[in-house]
Amino acid sequence: MVKNILIFLLLLSVGLIAFDIFGAFTENKELSPTAAYYAENAAHEVGAANLVTAIVVTYRGLDTLGEVSILFLTAAIISFMLKFRKEEEMEASDLRPASELFITATQVFTPIILIMGIYIFLNGHLTPGGGFQGGAVIASAFLLMLMAKPRLQLSHRVIARVESISGISYVILGVLGIAFAGGFLDNRVLSLGSFGELMSAGIIPFIYSFIGLKVGAELSNIIGTMSNLQKENN
């Protein structure tokens, strides 16, 4: 009882403080100097129609590299922590099989979801979306497959290869920027192309494809590890 009152008091005080701040908040009338710089020059310097992509992949590309490494670290820690026994040692699990309807729907939808994910990361510089979103969509296809067929084993070797090759290619593309353009992860290695085309904005489509593959592999790895642990628990 006392605990509930304390929680209520805490919520009330946080709410009051924040309400005060938000009540006094007035939206900006114009862009801040940094944002104005990006708005004015990003389309000419980077050539991407989606300015958020221009910032994430080119202006703040190093941060994105760090972000991808954080995701990799998460996947690594999870597979280290949830270490499971070898496949042959695993006893036959008595997980309830999925329904016929669900399995059929999975067979229909998995390729569509995979293509959707690829579409999202290939068009990251033109439309809302990008490598992280596309990677998450691809991983959701694997999640659906694991739910439909609980005994399915995602091949760790394939996942690890896809992940490391795309990670290394990302860094190599960044180093190419030092050699042929202005600096690390500069996208002007290839020509900027005509604005709004699929093959425009230099190497952004390639970088985002590698990020998408890497994120998709990492998330699938996390999902696969968790599902293995669940099988072991049963």
Partner: protein
């Protein structure tokens, strides 16, 4: 207008705080943390809002020295990062929950008193 979105974000945040202070189930605590995370993300995006501005996606190349009428893209790029980090944190929390459940076959936080003094 932007105040409405700020208040929605604040309410989500408070709901998250209430959730992880009050629930006993470990999975519900994880869900509450993601709610908290989502509330903060909504607030961060709405801070970059400008009245009557469009999304920062251009449909044609602007002229030189022309600033297109659009909202601030910087908070959006930051929130993209924050979402990914949030996803990593959620995955880690879920795997801790799996591990804890494997130890004691229970999701009730009251059963985990080994470090309580």
């Amino acid at each position: 207008m932007v105040q409405v979105i700020l208040i929605i974000g604040l309410m989500l945040m408070l709901l998250g705080v209430y959730g992880f202070m009050q629930s006993k189930n470990l999975l519900k605590i994880v869900i509450a943390f993601t709610l908290f995370n989502t509330g903060i993300n909504i607030i961060m995006v709405s801070v970059g809002y400008l009245a009557d501005a469009k999304a920062p996606i251009l449909d044609k190349l602007p002229d030189l020295n022309e600033i297109p009428n659009m909202v601030d893209p910087v908070p959006q790029a930051m929130v993209l990062t924050a979402i990914v980090i949030g996803l990593g944190v959620t995955a880690l929390m879920l795997s801790y929950v799996l591990k804890l459940h494997q130890e004691k076959r229970s999701l009730d936080i009251n059963n985990f008193k080994d470090l309580k003094w």
